[in-house]
Assembly symmetry: D2
Homo-oligomer: 131 residues x 4
């Protein structure tokens, strides 16, 4: 599991008084930073090798401005050229929203997926959600 603490920003609320739905993709992307760094430790843009193919979000309960949010990120599945992550946004002990993303190991020059090297799979496997 990867964890990322988030301080909600005033501008991330909307007129209904809660965190707007469009903010969760930003929070979850921030929470994926250690995953990017597995594949590209220096975060060098010319060595980027992950591309986002699919994201989805379930909004369970309203998230508020006041309290800190903890985003927990798990590896869900590891395929040949892609893997799936799960995100959970927790606030005051309540699971407020969840997300799922499919990331593809990708050659930006040829614009084609690549086989994920075993060394990366081994690291990813350490972050499976335990039952």
């Amino acid at each position: 599991m990867f964890t990322q603490r988030i301080t909600p920003r005033f501008g991330e609320t909307d007129a209904l008084g809660h965190i707007n739905n469009t903010v969760f993709p930003c929070w979850f992307e921030q929470a994926r930073k250690p995953v990017f760094q597995i594949f590209n430790p220096d975060m060098a843009f010319d060595k980027m090798n992950l591309i986002l193919a699919h994201t989805e979000f379930d909004f369970l309960v309203e998230t508020y401005l006041k309290d800190e949010v903890e985003v927990k990120t798990y590896v869900d599945k590891i395929g040949n050229t892609s893997f799936t992550l799960l995100h959970e946004a927790w606030q005051e002990g309540i699971k407020k929203a969840t997300g799922k993303v499919v990331m593809v190991y990708f050659d930006f020059k040829t614009k084609k997926p690549l086989l994920i090297p075993e060394q990366y799979k081994t690291i990813l496997k350490k972050h499976f959600k335990e039952d």
Copy 2:
């Protein structure tokens, strides 16, 4: 179908040189404005009656800064208390990304879903995707 023209913003690109994935939820939300106005013509916040339960996004091809984007929005399904919309982001004749959202007709005071009145269903039905 609802359509919304979008002028991509420089700050909506990321270091890979394309529109960042977190921007599509914002564009698609903008494209849903006429849907909000079916249910709440004045967009009065104390009369809001739609809540977002689920969103998902597929990123098909990179979207660029330079050219205008057209977001096409269709109604996909209409249930008793919720409905599903489909979004497509087109740029230079190419479908770049798609989205799906589930919106619930909702009483913000009791925090419960409500049956969608027939008058709204009738309007939504005019926006089904034609084959």
Copy 3:
């Protein structure tokens, strides 16, 4: 003058029910797109030659979600290596917010300002605010 019509997005409101202050930099940047294109018609990132040195914003009246916003952009001053733009956000005939930005004509390789060529100054001068 350059003009840009903006459709305010739901996520651009905040919990006070108005457009959040952090949104105006995004709108004004969008409104500068034709200025970028004077200096870099293709918006090619490897030919970018403008850098932002300073921005400022005055918030005059609350901006609302419902109605379209028109951003008017003027050239205020043209120096040797930099120029100043003024932005105004209008909604329903009311000037809601203004902005000022200082842009530097810049060599991203040497990281040094460059003299603005006369051809660009001539175009910029056509966009001075008339009294």
Copy 4:
């Protein structure tokens, strides 16, 4: 001084490979959260009593995605109905950008500025920048 650590988000970069200028208003707003809480400890929206009148930003050096940013916030001036804050964004020991904001103590019902109570001035004075 107030301090806020920020983890730059991938989507906060732009196509030039640095943090986009529109992000600093968001970071600095986040850094003002303890200031909001002086005036409104519960962050209750119906008790909000601060409004932003003016912001400005100087971009000194490019800010990068990789390393954490620390935002330092100082009180600069305290007037009768308003006060000025200074923000500094530091990364790897380098001051990358600065900001100044003017906040007005404000009655949202009458839409008029109010005299800042002494009790709040006393707390603000503890956050002057020391020489």
